[in-house]
């Protein structure tokens, strides 16, 4: 795989505070790279550095081999981006907005504009003022704006923010399509894990300005162990029984009972044991850890050890 965006030891210090701390990663062509982290972790700052809106304190970012620092025009020419909300000139029509941006890149024809408008499905409303657009339509116009010059890298900051489920789905399908058909590298950021799970090939987790982990999405979820949730009363007694029988196994209290990290084969034995101790068992459920749990685990663990 060929990498197109490369961050090398990028740091950003603002007013004496280190906001981004020594981040390095690569994004390949044809892949959707997710940038995941809680609010204020530095996702948007990193994205703004990639597109040159914010200066880099140390390190470098290259896009298609050109440094955004020293070769801004060449580097950013490969990029189409929406940073946060797609803010357009509200007093202009959608079409005038596109003309405005088309004039700022080389060689965008009227046909290309029309084609892009069709692609995002705005033909009917393109000659209305942006003022009258819904958020979903603005998002689509924003997408049209970044696709005009056939970029090799698409950067979308919180692309599904404020969209309804249909809109979210639309954007998601779109992103996958662009990566697959046009071999674009897509970088998306979000704090919504389920979204990322469905959209991305790889996910980088960022917290407190540090890149905690970069993993394949499949790997990321599969490494999660299976847990069993037992609906029991009294749960405290049940938990102590589990802990004494299986001292090496992860176990804890849950809302309706306890959860244990046992393998399937061990469950009948545990049930027998619990029944013998006169614990009331109402149900047993297999639960797969969600990306969310994993995410909280990764950020929790590493954030915790860091602070401690």
């Amino acid at each position: 795989m060929e990498s197109i965006v490369e961050l090398k030891n990028v740091s950003k210090v603002m007013k004496g505070r280190t906001i981004i701390d020594d981040i390095s990663f690569k994004v390949n062509k044809g892949e959707v790279f997710g940038f995941l982290g809680p609010n204020g972790a530095g996702k948007t700052t990193t994205i703004r550095m990639i597109v040159g809106l914010i200066g880099i304190t140390s390190g470098d970012i290259t896009i298609g081999g050109y440094s955004i620092k020293t070769d801004f025009e060449a580097a950013v020419g490969h990029v189409g981006a929406i940073v946060e909300n797609p803010e357009m000139y509200k007093f202009l029509t959608g079409y005038q907005n596109l003309i405005h941006y088309a004039r700022m890149s080389r060689g965008i024809t009227k046909e290309k504009i029309a084609e892009t408008v069709k692609l995002v499905g705005l033909e009917d409303r393109i000659n209305d003022r942006v003022k009258t657009y819904s958020l979903g339509m603005r998002q689509r116009l924003g997408l049209a704006q970044c696709l005009l010059h056939d970029p090799e890298v698409l950067i979308l900051d919180e692309p599904t923010n404020g969209l309804d489920p249909a809109g979210i789905r639309e954007i998601r399908d779109y992103i996958r399509l662009l990566a697959r058909e046009k071999n674009m590298a897509v970088i998306v950021s979000s704090h919504l894990l389920t979204e990322m799970e469905m959209m991305c090939d790889r996910i980088g987790i960022i917290q407190n300005g540090k890149l905690m982990d970069v993993q394949q999405v499949k790997e990321f979820i599969n490494t999660a162990e299976v847990m069993f949730e037992l609906e029991v009363t009294p749960s405290e007694t049940a938990l102590s029984i589990v802990k004494s029988t299986y001292p090496n196994v992860q176990a804890g209290l849950s809302r309706n009972g306890i959860t244990v990290g046992l393998s399937k084969q061990e469950i009948p034995r545990l049930v027998k044991q619990l029944a013998k101790e006169e614990i009331q068992i109402y149900g047993i459920k297999e639960t797969v850890k969600t990306l969310e749990d994993r995410f909280l685990e990764v950020t929790g663990e590493k954030g915790g050890t860091q602070r401690g």
């Binding site: 700052t45 200066g55 950013v76 803010e87 000139y89 202009l92 405005h100 941006y101 700022m104 890149s105």
Partner: protein, 315 residues
């Protein structure tokens, strides 16, 4: 660059506010025209012995000049006397019909209005991109920031010229309709360094326009700088317009007492003071003022460009 200017021009002219400005400029000019037309009525007293009158006037002026101790006043009398003498010598009657050119000259007072409007546009051209949030999409194009800011400044200057052209053309047309063209070509009597010369009136008016616009161009540049440095259009508009209306007076007050007043921007914006009349502070010359204007201009532009180039577009 042409494309960038086209973009900025489009953004100005797709907003209704711009048309309100143009309409206001035209309406105020029309009101001024109506006012002068109304005033003009009344019997024209034609003084056939104007040469006699001028000689008497000069005698009076001479006497006043000897009594006066103020240098500014003496300069003024000297100029009046010189012009009167020129009129007597070349048989040019001071009683000219109020004509189209007189009106254009009067209407040129409205240049301050075009200044006001240009300042509003200039103050918004950078700051608005920030408040609209569109700056983010604007700066991620393969065009460096210097070019973007330059195109914005050029657009502001073009807008200023556009308004001046509207004022000049409209007041000429309106003047021609209301007051008629003069019967013979009129000349303007120009007094410069003790000499009186005749000048074509249209040339004089264009020059007058150009020199009167310096004020406005400098303040527009200042508004542009504030807009770029503070990203705040209200501050840029407020401060610039305040100075546009009061800067001259303040500087004149200071100049009564302190000679450093000559380094203040507003002491130098009126280059007309060298062409006719006397400089605000003694010892000031045309090259000095031009140099001062250049210094101010360069400082404003440096501030605007350096901050714009270095700015982190966060929020």
């Amino acid at each position: 660059m042409v494309n960038l200017i086209k973009n900025e021009w489009m953004k100005i002219f797709k907003r209704p506010g711009t048309y309100v400005m143009i309409a206001l400029l035209i309406i105020v000019t029309a009101i001024l025209g109506a006012f002068f037309k109304y005033q003009e009525k009344g019997p024209d007293v034609v003084d056939n012995h104007w040469e006699q009158t001028l000689i008497q006037e000069n005698d009076a002026l001479n006497r006043q000049m000897k009594q006066s101790s103020s240098k500014v006043e003496q300069q003024f009398f000297k100029k009046e006397i010189a012009i009167n003498e020129y009129r007597i010598k070349h048989h040019i009657s001071p009683h000219e019909q109020y004509n189209v050119w007189s009106f254009v000259k009067n209407a040129s007072d409205l240049i301050v209005l075009t200044g006001l409007f240009t300042i509003i546009i200039s103050a918004g051209i950078v700051a608005s991109e920030f408040s609209w949030g569109t700056i983010k999409l604007l700066l991620i194009r393969p065009i460096n920031r210097t070019k973007i800011l330059t195109s914005k400044y050029i657009t502001v200057i073009l807008f200023a010229l556009f308004l001046l052209a509207i004022l000049f053309i409209f007041s000429t047309l309106l003047g021609a309709v209301l007051f008629g063209m003069p019967e013979q070509t009129v000349s303007y009597l120009n007094y410069y360094k003790g000499h009186v010369t005749e000048q074509n009136i249209v040339v004089h008016l264009l020059m007058y326009y150009g020199l009167s616009s310096i004020d406005m161009i400098m303040l527009t540049t200042m508004a542009f700088m504030i807009s770029s440095v503070f990203r705040n259009s209200s501050l840029a508009i407020g401060l610039s317009i305040f100075l546009l209306f009061t800067g001259g007076q303040f500087t004149a007050l200071i100049s009564l007492k302190y000679s450093w007043a000559k380094y203040i921007l507003f002491a130098n914006t009126d280059l007309m003071q060298y062409v006719e009349g006397t400089p605000m502070v003694e010892g000031m010359t045309m090259p000095f003022s031009i140099l001062m204007l250049l210094v101010y201009f360069i400082v404003f532009q440096l501030l605007a460009f350096l901050t714009f180039k270095k700015r982190d577009v966060a929020a």
